[in-house]
Symmetry: C2
Subunit: 328 residues, 2 copies
């Protein structure tokens, strides 16, 4: 089985590629060829039994999609995107990468498939940002997509294109609306959602963290480990079970910042919690208040997508995966 | 006030242009300049007090959008589209006209607006075809868009783009999801929905008509007259009332074919009904079964969009507008 990951240098792409090396996919042939592509050179995971190649490649450049697909992969994971903040700041770049890049990928599959008998599976990373504005406390699976950012708009359009290309039989496919990923490993970044990870990640290594919103703020989060499992499950799931609607809201935990801090206290003690400094930021609070707080992802749950049962589990997964299972 | 109608040679565009000549818009300056554009030359309405120009123009050709917008219209009605059947039969043409054409129009407004202080109002003709598949009997305003045709996909993407460009302040705008229009004037066509009009239009002039579906078939219809009024209302409505969701399902009547025939009998007698020949067509019945049967368009109703109260009214409007108020 040949697998292509577009966006393989990102946090999720990297972790997913590593997982394919460590553990074969459920009930699927072992990958014989792994192609890792991104606009910057992806890392090659060690100990991969099959062949692994990397491509430095920008989907928006002419000929790139043809080159990416030259190995005729069986499964294509399309994780590449300009993130929310940048797509909002740079209108043209966001539409060029997130809309035109995705469409070029789909169109190139169509053009190749018209000449050869090749029908891959496409796993598309969508986002909870397809929802926005005035929504209910628990967003049901049949709720209207009303993005309030350009990024969310571009992801919603990607979902619609995926549905139509799949309906046409051009490829089989599934779209996963990924929740906010927490605890994100690495350095603090300037994303508006960064503090959800920062208030856990930094105190666990004895560093200070800033909390810009009230502890009552509620949000929808899952671990990097669960997000990797979503991709793995999507790789082998029987897609005929999706019927006419191949885009799914993924399960996650709906927790408040207060819940996060209570879990941190249980696991790392009050001295960790004391490292969190409350520093209200009206601008961030306003952005966060427009984000979905909770979902009722019945379809994904029925199809076997799973997430952590408590925020304690999310912290413990981070300690196991990123801190060598040890607290400082 | 300067008005541009793109798609002015179509049935709705033509009737709307005529209505602007006959009757000024509610609480708006009289149009001083009317630009009628289409891929075939639109007719010039007679007796227009201001200046009226026509343009034969294809939005998908380079420079066309610039030319269309050269008069810097105050309101742009974007009614141009490849229809459902053709967009399904010709994948590339549908996406080129319905998606790329719409995006080019929006992008050209953005590029002009970046240099000049010009912020027009865009009225976008969307369609009930943005809904499809497994939906409830009454589709609420916050129901997910799940088109099951390429045409519906392209209209849903147009809605998303309209929302984002409006949110960005590039133009103000509103999207109207138009119901099936009945009674469509003119000759029978080969659209799958054609019979809804045919079984009324033909018997009213003493001609035979074919009914390919059972009389229990339910559908969502409004008259050409109401559809013109939707556009007129959208021209002057306070768009701030739309909040973050500028796309609206329009009101219409949910009637069965049996209801249609009963109304025809009341108005034109049993001899008109006798001209309808039942000729079941499985293929058409299957297509029609995937279409929305009824909506709960609360937002549009609250904002003052209205429709007929009974199918009798729809037939009487047709007799008044198309048959000189006389039955044969």
């Amino acid at each position: 089985m040949k697998i292509l990951i577009i966006g393989a240098a990102g946090m999720l792409g990297r972790k997913f590629a590593e997982s394919l090396v460590r553990k074969p996919l459920h009930s699927a042939p072992t990958p014989t060829r792994l192609t890792l592509a991104d606009v910057v050179a992806p890392l090659v995971p060690t100990d991969f039994a099959g062949s692994c190649e990397t491509m430095t490649c920008d989907l928006t450049q002419p000929g790139s999609a043809q080159r990416l697909l030259s190995g005729r992969p069986d499964i294509i994971f399309h994780l590449a995107a300009i993130v929310s903040g940048e797509a909002e700041a740079d209108f043209e770049k966001g539409y060029t990468v997130n809309l035109d890049g995705t469409r070029t990928l789909f169109e190139t599959i169509r053009q190749i498939g018209a000449k050869e008998s090749w029908k891959p599976r496409v796993v598309f990373a969508s986002s909870n940002a397809v929802f926005g504005g005035d929504f209910p406390d628990y967003i049901p699976d049949d709720y209207i997509l009303t993005p309030q950012t350009s990024y969310g708009t571009q992801k919603a359009i990607g979902e619609l294109l995926l549905t139509d290309y799949r309906r046409r039989g051009i490829f089989d496919g599934i779209g996963l609306r990924l929740p906010t990923i927490c605890v994100r490993p690495g350095k603090p970044n300037r994303a508006a959602s960064g503090f959800f990870s920062g208030i856990i990640r930094e105190p666990l290594i004895g560093q200070k963290a800033t909390l810009p919103v009230p502890e009552t703020t509620r949000h929808w989060m899952t671990s990097p480990r669960s997000a990797v499992e979503f991709l793995r499950h999507a790789a082998t799931l029987d897609l005929s079970l999706l019927g006419e609607r191949p885009n799914l809201s993924m399960p996650a935990l709906s927790v408040t910042v207060g819940d996060q801090i209570a879990a941190l206290k249980r696991i790392a003690g009050p001295e960790a919690v004391a490292l969190i400094r409350h520093e209200p930021d009206e601008a961030i609070a306003r952005i966060v208040s427009g984000w979905a707080r909770s979902f009722d992802p019945q379809r994904a749950l029925k199809l076997g997508f799973t997430t952590e049962q408590s925020f304690d589990d999310i912290i413990l997964a981070h300690i196991a995966d990123e801190l060598g299972d040890r607290l400082v």
